[in-house]
Subunit: 229 residues, 2 copies
DNA sequence: TCGCTCTTGTTACGATCCTTAACGGTAGCG
DNA sequence: CGCTACCGTTAAGGATCGTAACAAGAGCGA
C-alpha cells in the first residue's frame, strides 16, 4: 500500500486507472454499436489488442463491467441534465422544465443503447444502485426547484400519499418548504419523459407517424400547466 | 402437402403445434423466473426432457423463439387490456380509462420480465413486429373511444401535428369523427402508463417510498381532466 | 394392409464465450 | 540494485448456439 488511491496516485495506479478507462470506453463503443447484450469480454479485449483473460485483472466478471458502465452512464446522464438546467438558470421556470426534459431526451436519443441499459435491460429489482439514484436526482433537484417556482402555495391535504412525497423530498434534499404538488409533478414529469423517450427509442412512434419532439413538448406544457393551475 | 394448416389439421400438424405450445410455455416459465437474458435453448430442452438440438426443428434459432414469445406476450397483454375495457363497457368513460390503465399495469406487474421483454430488452428499432402494434391497438381503441366521449367537440387548429394524429387514428381504425385532442391524449396516456409501470418494475419507486398505484391514479385523473377540460 | 417417406429425435462436432489456473516478464518501488 | 507486485499470456474446463449426420418411427397413400 503506497498511498490512498485518490491522494498521490502512484504511477502504477495511474496506469491502472488509464487502462480501466480505456476498457470502459471501448466497451461503451461496443454497447453503442451492438447493444449491451452483445458486449463480450472477448470483443473488448480484441478491440484493445489484449487477450480476454487480461481484462479480469480489472473487472471480476462481465457483469461487473456492465455494472460499471451503468454507473458511468447514470452519472453522465445526470450531469448532462444538471448542466442543461444550470445553463438555463437565468430563464423562467417553465423554460427550465423544458430544458431539463429536452436534455434528458437528447441524451437518450444520442445513446439509445446506453439508455436501454439503464432502465430496460436491467434485471427486475436489480441490486441497489445508489449511484443511479444519485445521478437521477442530479436532474430531479433542478426540476423540483423549477416546479416549486411555478406552483402557487396551497394548503396541503396531508394524506399519506402527500406524506410519502414529503419524505422523499426531504431524503433527496429538496427545499424544505416545497409543496407536495411540486414533488408529485416532479415524479410524474420524470415518469412521463421516461415513458415517451422509452417508446421513442423502441421505435413506437415511427410506425405511428408521430414526432417524439412534439409529443414531449405537449407533455412539458401539461406539466407546467398542472403546476401552475 | 395434405391440407392447409388451419383447415383440417393433420395429426402430425396437431402434434407439432402441441410441441410448439409446450416449448413456448416452458420458455415463458423460464423467462418469468430468470429473465429473457437467461433463456437458453438448452434450458428449455432440459425442462422438456429433450436434447437441445431437437428444438431447432421448431424454432430456427434462439432469437426466433424469443420473437415468438414477444408476439404471444403482446397478444396476451392486448387481449387482457381489451377484455378489461369490455368488462367495464357499462361504466362511465372516465372509469373505463381507469380500468384500461389499471389492466395494463396489472399485467405488467404480474409478468414483469415479459413486460421487460416487450419494451425494454428489444434491440433498438427492432424488426417491424406488426403483431405488437396490433396488440397494443387492441387496448388503444377502447381507450380512444372513452376519451372521445369525454372530450368536448372543438375546432381543430389543423396543424401538422394534428394531421399526423388524425392519420394515425385513421390507420388504426379509430372512429372517423374523433378529435385530435382525444388521439393525442390516447398516445400520451399510453406513454404515461408505460413510463410509470416501467419505472415501477425497475424498482424506482421502492427506493423512493412511493406507491405505484397511487401514482397511476394521479395520472388517470390527469388524463381524464385533460380530456374534459 | 403394406411400404415408402417425411418427421422427429438422437449423438457428435465446431465455434464462441466466460472464467480460472498456472506461468513468465517487466517495471515500479524501496 | 534487487525484490516484489502487477500485468499479460497461454492452456484448459464448462456452457451455449447452431450444424451435420444418422437412426427410428409414425403417418399417409396405394
Amino acid at each position: 500500500m503506497s498511498s490512498a488511491s485518490t491522494d498521490h496516485p502512484t504511477r502504477r495506479e495511474r496506469l491502472r486507472q488509464q487502462t480501466i478507462d480505456e476498457i470502459k470506453q471501448r466497451a461503451f463503443e461496443l454497447v453503442d454499436a451492438d447493444g449491451a447484450h452483445e458486449l463480450s469480454i472477448a470483443s473488448v479485449g480484441k478491440a484493445m489488442g489484449m487477450s480476454p483473460p487480461a481484462l479480469y485483472r480489472y473487472f471480476p466478471s462481465r457483469e461487473a463491467l456492465l455494472e460499471a458502465l451503468v454507473v458511468d452512464a447514470y452519472a453522465d446522464l445526470g450531469s448532462t441534465v444538471a448542466s442543461a438546467a444550470q445553463k438555463g438558470s437565468d430563464q423562467e421556470a417553465p423554460a427550465r422544465v423544458a430544458l431539463i426534459a429536452q436534455a434528458w431526451r437528447r441524451w437518450a436519443l444520442t445513446h439509445p443503447r446506453r439508455y436501454g441499459m439503464l432502465f430496460s435491460d436491467r434485471s427486475p429489482a436489480a441490486q441497489d444502485p445508489p449511484e443511479g439514484v444519485v445521478a437521477v436526482n442530479q436532474g430531479m433537484l433542478p426540476l423540483l426547484a423549477a416546479l416549486r417556482e411555478i406552483a402557487p402555495p396551497s394548503s396541503g391535504t396531508g394524506g399519506p400519499f402527500e406524506e410519502s412525497l414529503l419524505r422523499w423530498g426531504k431524503a433527496i434534499g429538496a427545499p424544505a418548504d416545497i409543496m407536495p404538488r411540486a414533488l408529485r409533478l416532479g415524479v410524474l414529469c420524470w415518469s412521463r419523459v421516461h415513458g415517451l423517450v422509452s417508446l421513442e427509442i423502441a421505435g413506437a412512434f415511427d410506425s405511428m407517424g408521430l414526432d417524439g419532439e412534439l409529443l414531449l413538448a405537449a407533455e412539458i406544457e401539461t406539466v407546467v400547466g398542472q403546476a401552475g393551475a
